[in-house]
Symmetry: C2
Subunit: 357 residues, 2 copies
């Protein structure tokens, strides 16, 4: 039986992935040297294509890390001497805060109930804050922020850095990269790749902060400090032997997406989200966890299940549809449905049919 993975990451692989994996094996991609010309070309093509797809400014740097979690750590190490500020409304925004704390910084957190957005107008950022951290799309609860709210902070606080986690909203989110400084994601969600690669994008201003901390003789990490990452990125290389296989696959999937067109991908995502929310809003057995429609995620759709989620998850598995548990304390109460580019309208309709039986 064909399986459809609607889990919010790892998730359904992009439809072309198995072809690209086959080619990677045939072309010996995993045996080439990470210091040779062939790899450098793969690195450059991947960065160039990503910048084209997401409309990232030329002056921004793109780094390859191992996970979004690592990205959080490297951001704190390289951009925070002491004070970061975190908008927390779920497990992943909380994790970003906790990582800052683990690294012996003194982070601030502004926390609201999980499943809620923020009343940003009511919040003033203390003067000493160096970095403001947003989780654009909370994978744990399915709350998505309005990007315009994020931009306002850059205008209000031009000397502070802005970091945005787009782990589960990329490539859907139409972000104006020039209005933020640090952006990161992993590839096993919206790009439909196997897990094991994180992507970190930084502005020249973020790099300057890293250099400032280094000049003060502070610990900004070793091989994955922004300074080391830039040194190698300028040669189209990484400091260590990277996950060449995944970088190759990412290049190929981005090029597939460029052919489809980012606008079509976004339009399709909207259509599928509308179908799912319409069903959940109108079916007595379900209730979208995020009540306020303006902050409902289009890419991770979370619903309460009246009879509890475990029974329906098991029932769906028998039909070949795999959806996510609720996160943490919501494990047995919620289902989470990923709505990524790899998910076709047809498979979403198939899922809805099964949910409604």
């Amino acid at each position: 039986m064909k399986k459809y993975f609607f889990t919010p990451g790892p998730s359904q692989l992009f439809p072309t992935i198995s072809k690209h994996i086959k080619n990677a094996v045939n072309y010996n991609i995993s045996s080439i040297s990470h210091r040779g010309q062939q790899f450098k070309q793969i690195f450059k093509n991947t960065v160039d294509s990503l910048k084209k797809l997401l409309n990232i400014p030329d002056t921004y740097y793109v780094f390859f890390l191992s996970s979004a979690t690592e990205a959080m750590e490297r951001i704190i190490e390289n951009c925070v001497e002491k004070y970061s500020f975190h908008f927390v409304n779920g497990a992943f925004s909380k994790k970003f805060f906790e990582i800052a704390s683990d690294l012996k910084k003194e982070p601030f957190e502004y926390e609201v109930d999980y499943g809620k957005g923020f009343n940003f107008n009511a919040i003033a950022i203390p003067k000493k804050i160096e970095l403001i951290c947003f989780t654009h799309n909370e994978t744990s609860t399915g709350v998505a922020l309005n990007v315009n709210d994020i931009y306002k902070f850059k205008k209000l606080y031009p000397n502070k850095l802005i970091a945005v986690d787009i782990v589960s909203s990329v490539p859907y989110v139409d972000l104006n990269y020039s209005l933020v400084d640090i952006i990161f994601f992993s590839v096993q969600k919206g790009f439909g790749l196997p897990a094991g690669l994180g992507v970190l994008i930084i502005s020249p201003q973020a790099l300057e902060k890293s250099k400032y901390l280094a000049n003060k003789n502070l610990n900004i990490g070793s091989h994955h400090s922004f300074i080391e990452l830039v040194n190698y990125a300028q040669k189209n290389q990484t400091p260590e032997t990277p996950n060449v296989f995944a970088i190759y696959l990412l290049e190929k999937v981005i090029n597939d997406m460029l052919k489809i067109g980012i606008n079509n991908i976004r339009k399709n995502t909207d259509i599928k989200a509308k179908l799912l929310y319409k069903f959940l809003d109108n079916n007595d057995g379900f209730k979208p966890f995020v009540e306020k429609k303006s902050v409902r995620s289009k890419t991770v759709i979370t619903s309460e299940v009246k009879i509890g989620s475990q029974e329906i998850i098991k029932k769906l598995i028998r039909k070949g549809f795999i959806v996510g548990n609720g996160y943490g304390i919501y494990k047995d109460k919620h289902i989470r449905i990923a709505n990524f580019p790899a998910h076709t309208i047809q498979s979403v309709k198939g899922l809805i049919t099964q949910l409604s039986i």
Copy 2:
């Protein structure tokens, strides 16, 4: 034309890899949840098989990181308050030292000329040193240490921790893990996997050191501190979404190696190394870089090339044989030939034939 990668990493893939990759795709390994039962079983099987293959004590912990370079960073973060000691005879032992320095520790280095071993009897380790770092097999130059020399340090300094880099000698090196504390490698060399996974093995004593530093409120990192890694490893999980694909492949290749038998793998490595050194020692165009036979690596064979290495590297490529450049300043002077389990005796003989023309 079939290609034979004798580069010292990334290198030739293990012969069964393409079959395992195909299965990974067919079984949706890259879509399964890293918090689910299926992944936990893969994690457990991989750790159990690795312990069996390498004879690692039950009480030791096995962690999955992204690279050996990351392993160096995590070891310094978790085992060194201030003072580490590094035996340096090439680029990778040097890197370990530099990482300690980057992390604002005060590392000591004992450096000899590249291509040489150490006169260990002449070296006393200062009292304040917390961690002694050995690079068992210097990938940059092809020097291999005698493991008995390493064990002596544990006997002389039982309260210091001993770290051993076996990046390019695993699984060949027959190490008594119970006489050292921290061991690490990456999978794109002796295991013949695609790059993007590092493996770190630690003793209970190393974990204690990490806890001691944490209790002093020192920065031991965040998601990849030993404490976090152990918390998740005890649940057969990793703190972040890991490279599930690579962990799956590692399990499969280890099981293939268990079937072949580690003794056969080691015997074959010896046979191939003997063939290569015999040729290089007896051919006027070549001269093994490591003069002293007792410290010549069996797994990374480095040779000076009288007429320079670039011409012969190009000639070999035309015949389908890819060997490594010299490292760093030796780029145009040396060739480096990997001798890993993926390299058959027949392909080594084929390489020698081409070298001798």
